[in-house]
Amino acid sequence: MVLVVVALAVLFRASSYDIYVANLAILAAVAALGLNLLTGYTGQVSVGNAAFLAIGAYTAVAVMARAGFILGVAAAALATAAAGFVVGFPSLRLRGLYLVLSTLALQFIVAFAFEKYQTQSGAIAGYTLGATALGPMHLDSDRAWYVLLVVVLAMATYVAWSLVRSKPGRAWIAIREHDVEAAVIGVDVTRYKLLAFVISSGFVGVAGALAAAYTKHVSYEAYTLDLAVAYVAMIIIGGLASIVGSIIGAAIVTVLPFLITNAANSWFAGAAAGSFVQRNLPFINASTYALLVLVFLMFEPRGLVGLPARVVSAARRARGASPGSAAKQGVI
C-alpha cells in the first residue's frame, strides 16, 4: 500500500531526471533482491553479480532485436539462471572466502569473454538497443519505464517474499545456519543450494536485461568488480535476509552518488576545493558506501531494517531503568 502511494507520488511530482534515478534504483533493487536470496538467506557470498548482469544484458542484446522485449527478458532470465546453476557447483564444496574467489573467477571470465566478443564483432563502443515496445505500448519516456519497472519490482518482491516464507526459504535458512544439520532435518542441501544460485542469478539477469533495454546501451566496461561489490554493499546496508532491506539498500547505494554529486556541484562550485572534489567524485562515492558498509557490519549487522528493533529495545531498556538514567540515556 505504502509502496503504491510512494510510487504514484514520485510519478506525478518528480522531475524526469529524478525518475531516471528512481528507475536505476528499481533496477538495482530487483538484482539486490536476488542477491539477498543467495547471500542473506542461503549464506552463500557471491561477487558474481556484475557478471550475471552482463549475461542478462548481452542476452537481451542478442534476443530482443529479433524476438522482442518480453522474449528477450525471458531469455536473459533463463541464460543467467543456467549460468547460476553452473556457478553454484563450487558452492557444494567450497565455503566462505573460497566461494567468493570462485565467483570472482566468473567475474573475470565473463569480463574477458564479453570484451573479446565485443572487439571481435566490431562493436568496440558497445551495442545500442532500439526503442522498446511492449505490445502496443511504446516505452519511450522515463515515466513509461518507471511504471513498468515498478510493476516488475512488485512482482519480484512478491516472488521473493513468497519463497522466503515457505518451504524453499526455510530450507535456505537452514543451510545458512548449519548445512549438516539441515541435511539431517531432511533438506536436500545440493538441490537447494543450486536452486538459490539459479533463482538469485535469474533475478539479477532480469535486472541486467531490463537495464540494457532501458539505457539502450550495453558495453563490457560497465560490468566491473566495483559494480559487483556495490550490490553486496546494498544488501549489507539494507539488511541481510530482508526483502524490504534489499530495496532500501539498493535505493541508498544508487541514489547516494547522485546526491553527493549534486551537493559537490552546489557547495563547491568555483572554489578551489571544488575541482578537487569533482575530480575525485567516483572515489568519494565508492568510499562513502564502503564506509557505510563498515559501519553497518560493526554496529548493526542486521542493516537498516534492524534499526527499528534496536530503537524499540533501547526504549524498553530506558523505560525499565530509573527515570533519571533513562533521561540521560535517551533513545539511541
Binding site: 513468497s162 516464507r165 515457505s166 518451504k167 524453499p168 535458512i173 537452514a174 548449519h178
Partner: protein
C-alpha cells in the same frame, strides 16, 4: 534384506575409523519396530558417532546399516530423513537466528509437497496449505509446552527450552523412527524432570520407535526396554536396563569413564552434529 524388514534399525558389524583411530569396532544390534532402545556409555564411547552412521552424516568404514527396512549405506542424510527418521542434536548450537516456530516448521520440510514453482507464486498461502503446516507445527509446540515462545529466536531461549524446541522439530516430522541424542543432558534438574515427563508422553502417545542416548540412568530405566552399552567403540553389553546396568564390566566401564572425564556430567562442547 528381507530379514531386516521387520526391524526399525539393523546395524551389522559396524566399523568407523578417523585417520586410523577406531571410533566404532564391530558393533551389531537390532531394534524392533515400536521398541524403545537406549544407548549408554562413557563420554567418547562412540554413541553420537553411531547415530551419525544411521543418519548418514558419517560414512562407516565397514559393516552396514539398515533403517526402517532399507539398507541406507549409500544414502544421503536427507533421504534417510525422508524415509521417516528424525533426529535431535546433542548440542543445540545452530539455528540461533531462527524463530522457534520457523525451526519447528523446518521439521515439516519432508512433509510439504508444494514444488518450488508453486511456492514462488505464493500459492501455499492462498490454498491454506501453509496454514495447515503451521497448525501441525503448533501442535508439536503444544506437545512440548513451547507454544508461548513460538516467536522467540532459538538463540534467546534457555538451553533447556532450545533442546525442547529441537524435540518439537523432530516430532513435527511425524517420524517412524526417532533418534534422540542426550535429550536431558546439560539441563537443570527442573528441566530434566520436564523432559523426562515429555519423553514418557511421547512413549505413550506415539508409536514411533525410539533410540535414545542418555547418561541419566534413572531416565534410561524409565524409558528403555533394552539398552546397548558402548565402551571405547565396542559393544560390551545389551539387554533390559535393570539387568545390564548391574553387570560388573558395565560398572567398570562407567567407573573408568567417569575417572577419565573431568566431570561427572557429559560434556556439552563435544560431539558433532
Amino acid at each position: 534384506m528381507s530379514s531386516a524388514s521387520g526391524l526399525a534399525v539393523a546395524v551389522a558389524h559396524l566399523e568407523l575409523q578417523f585417520g586410523g583411530m577406531a571410533v566404532l569396532r564391530d558393533v551389531s544390534f537390532a531394534v524392533a519396530r515400536g521398541e524403545r532402545y537406549g544407548i549408554v556409555g562413557p563420554n567418547g564411547a562412540g554413541k553420537t558417532s553411531l547415530l551419525n552412521c544411521i543418519s548418514r552424516t558419517y560414512r562407516q568404514t565397514g559393516g552396514s546399516v539398515s533403517a526402517l527396512g532399507e539398507c541406507v549405506d549409500r544414502w544421503r542424510p536427507h533421504e534417510v530423513a525422508r524415509l521417516g527418521v528424525a533426529r535431535t542434536f546433542q548440542n543445540m548450537a545452530a539455528f540461533r537466528d531462527v524463530s522457534v516456530l520457523d525451526f519447528v516448521m523446518l521439521g515439516r520440510h519432508t512433509r510439504i509437497r508444494s514444488s518450488t514453482f508453486v511456492c514462488a507464486l505464493g500459492i501455499p498461502f492462498l490454498t491454506g496449505d501453509e496454514a495447515r503446516q503451521r497448525r501441525a507445527a503448533h501442535g508439536a509446540l503444544d506437545l512440548v509446552g513451547l507454544r508461548n515462545v513460538a516467536k522467540t529466536k532459538i538463540g534467546e531461549l534457555p538451553y533447556g527450552l532450545a533442546k525442547l524446541a529441537d524435540l518439537a522439530r523432530a516430532l513435527a516430522m511425524e517420524p517412524r523412527l526417532l533418534l534422540l541424542d542426550e535429550p536431558a543432558a546439560g539441563l537443570s534438574s527442573d528441566e530434566r524432570g520436564h523432559v523426562g515427563r515429555m519423553l514418557l508422553r511421547i512413549r505413550d502417545e506415539y508409536e514411533a520407535t525410539q533410540v535414545v542416548i542418555e547418561h541419566d540412568m534413572a531416565l534410561v530405566n524409565l524409558l528403555c526396554q533394552r539398552i546397548l552399552v558402548l565402551n571405547a567403540g565396542q559393544k560390551i553389553a545389551e539387554g533390559p536396563p535393570q539387568e545390564v546396568l548391574g553387570e560388573p564390566r558395565v560398572v567398570a566401564a562407567f567407573l573408568g569413564g567417569r575417572a577419565a572425564a573431568s566431570e561427572a556430567m557429559p560434556e556439552r562442547g563435544r560431539g558433532g552434529s
